[in-house]
């Protein structure tokens, strides 16, 4: 097994693990962290697969995608954290309110 394939598999593992985390944890901070780790898993896949060019220099396009993805992830996390704080201030708990409550 080549190193980059190993990294790519680790990335897929992180993705699956954080999908599980996103679903089972109820605390919003854990959910937000899970989404961030999921993003990192994908970035790892992108970077690892970009390196599978043999002797040639690695492909730069996936690296550009990762940079864009990081920018997106930072903004999304900022918004999510703000919402979480507002929600906690409103309800006293950093969890999603039960559905169907009016």
């Amino acid at each position: 097994m080549s190193t980059s394939l190993l990294y790519a598999l680790v990335g897929i593992g992180l993705f699956s693990l954080s999908l599980y985390g996103l679903i089972v944890h109820s605390h919003l901070l854990r959910k937000i962290l899970a989404l961030n780790i999921m993003g990192s898993g994908i970035f790892l896949v992108l970077v690892a697969l970009a390196g599978r060019t043999g002797e040639a220099p690695p492909d730069a396009v996936p690296h550009a995608m990762v940079i864009t993805g990081i920018v997106v992830a930072v903004s999304a996390t900022a918004l999510a954290l703000t919402l979480m704080l507002k929600l906690a201030a409103e309800t006293g708990r950093a969890e999603l309110p039960d559905e169907g409550r009016e």
Partner: protein, 488 residues
């Protein structure tokens, strides 16, 4: 003059205008309302410009900054994109006129920049020629939309916004992993190039699974619709209208484009299209029944959106044999639903403003007291139910025709049942609107422009029933469905 008009990069303006307009709104919040209205009007004019050019030259393609694909970003539009752009412009105009009266000074300073950013993201998404650009525009759209939902404040809106954000991010990340796989397998993210290169390999199947799941989550197809009703029902009325009319359609549009172009070699197998059709049928039935059970008007309308999205997915199993007719049907339904549902949410906003609540049983003789709003709701209802003469009727008729032609009685039954259930929940609302409520409330006057905005959008949905031929010939530009000349 003519040369200036035909050579002008209208497509670029569609993205640039709302983006710059939104930033100026942030810097100059006191003029937000004027700036917002002017910008949305200019965007609508630019859509006309793009349509003009496309009637002349066919497919619109523009290499941003002179850098062509695969390195640069290509803007691309065919009839399918044009239809979505036009829907955004029309709904955007109506909602903007409404919002000018709906939001006070304080809320308006937050609404206008976010709405213009949302419009920029939507237009950029419909003009995207590569799948990575689509990912970026998804995120821009999602962040603006979530912030708009949270504008309403309070526990319900914040909870709805949070749920929506988590669902939208999960959907985008699944989509991004799909991009990683496609790029690894086929070495490009350009949709046109991918259409040539993708074959039925395991990489392509995995990418289809990931991107499909992400897009289904974003489009809120049953059973992945859990985030939609709380978000759409708790947002301010104009925001609900934008989300239900346009934002969920954006991910449907991408799914359709990937289906038609990128994953074309894979979709020959029936399994995937059967699954999508099944989810659509479940959505129609489940969403309609849930809508009927709601006691609050905005939740009823939100569940109706879940049901109406289901109809769009009935086209997938039908398209294999019916070809373009099924897609035309789905697009016509999407377009008329955009107008009708926006009108419905705006009408609900009027009722909420008027009575201070949106409990259906508490609607107190609104037909006499807010006749324009009641008319808007009823006309929008005509299109949602699919009664002639309305856009919804044309769409359902085409879809029904495709299903009857293939003797898919199960889908025919679902469509008819969905129509009857829609009639039941719309007449439930109208029934309460005619009668006196047990408990009466203090009422507040509704600004005239808010009533007319709802009514004009509803009239637009009905008017679509008379415009099938010109609209469908516009959609046919560039032959997005591979077959030309198949229409009503």
């Amino acid at each position: 003059m003519d040369v200036v008009f035909t050579e002008f990069p209208w497509g670029v303006m569609l993205i640039l205008l709302p983006l710059v307009g939104g930033m100026i709104c942030l810097l100059w919040p006191r003029r937000g309302r004027t700036l917002g209205l002017v910008t949305v009007f200019a965007v609508a004019l630019s859509v006309v410009g793009v349509a003009w050019q496309m009637l002349d030259t066919g497919i619109y393609r523009h290499a941003v900054g002179g850098w062509g694909a695969p390195l640069g970003i290509d803007l691309y539009a065919d009839g399918l994109s044009l239809l979505m752009l036009a829907a955004s412009a029309l709904v955007g105009l109506g909602v903007s006129v409404y919002s000018a009266a709906y939001f006070g000074r304080e809320d308006g300073t937050r609404f206008w920049p976010l709405w213009l950013f949302l419009l920029a993201a939507l237009n950029a998404l419909f003009l995207s020629g590569d799948i990575f650009n689509v990912y970026v525009t998804f995120e821009l759209m999602g962040l603006a939309a979530v912030a708009l939902v949270a504008l309403a404040g309070g526990q319900n809106a914040l909870g709805g916004a949070m749920r929506y954000l988590l669902a939208a991010l999960l959907g985008s990340l699944a989509y991004l992993l799909g991009i990683a796989l496609l790029y690894h397998g086929f070495g490009t993210v350009d949709i046109a190039l991918l259409a040539d290169r993708v074959d039925a390999s395991p990489v392509a199947w995995a990418a289809l699974g990931l991107m499909g799941a992400g897009l289904l989550l974003k489009t809120a197809v049953f059973p992945l619709h859990f985030w939609l009703p709380p978000a759409h029902a708790s947002a301010p009325a104009p925001v609900s209208a934008l989300l239900s009319a346009l934002v969920v359609k954006a991910s449907f549009y991408i799914l359709l484009r990937l289906w038609l172009e990128v994953f074309e070699p894979l979709v020959g197998s029936d399994a995937v299209s059967t699954l999508l059709g099944l989810l659509g049928a479940m959505a129609v039935l489940w969403g309609s029944v849930q809508a009927l059970r709601q006691s609050r008007l905005k939740l009823l309308i939100a569940y109706s959106t879940v049901a109406q999205i289901g109809y769009l997915f009935l086209a997938f199993p039908l398209a294999a044999a019916a070809g373009a007719t099924a897609w035309y049907a789905a697009l016509y339904l999407a377009l008329s639903h955009a107008l009708a549902k926006a009108a419905m949410f705006l009408a609900a906003g009027n009722l909420l403003h008027f009575g201070g609540h949106d409990r259906i049983a508490g609607l107190d003789r609104v037909v006499q007291r807010l006749p324009l709003t009641a008319a808007a709701f009823a006309l929008a209802g005509v299109s949602i139910m699919g009664l002639p003469p309305s856009g919804g009727f044309i769409g359902k008729w085409l879809m029904l025709e495709a299903a009857l032609g293939q003797e898919r009685w199960d889908l025919v039954a679902v469509m008819i049942a969905g129509g009857l259930l829609a009639a039941a929940y719309i007449f439930k609302v109208l029934g309460y609107a005619f009668t006196q409520a047990d408990v009466t409330h203090e009422s507040r006057a509704v600004p005239v422009s808010m009533e007319w905005a709802a009514l004009l959008l509803a009239l637009g949905a009905v008017l679509l029933g008379f415009l099938a031929v010109p609209v469908l010939s516009l959609v046919g530009i560039g032959e997005p469905f591979g077959v030309s000349g198949v229409g009503p």
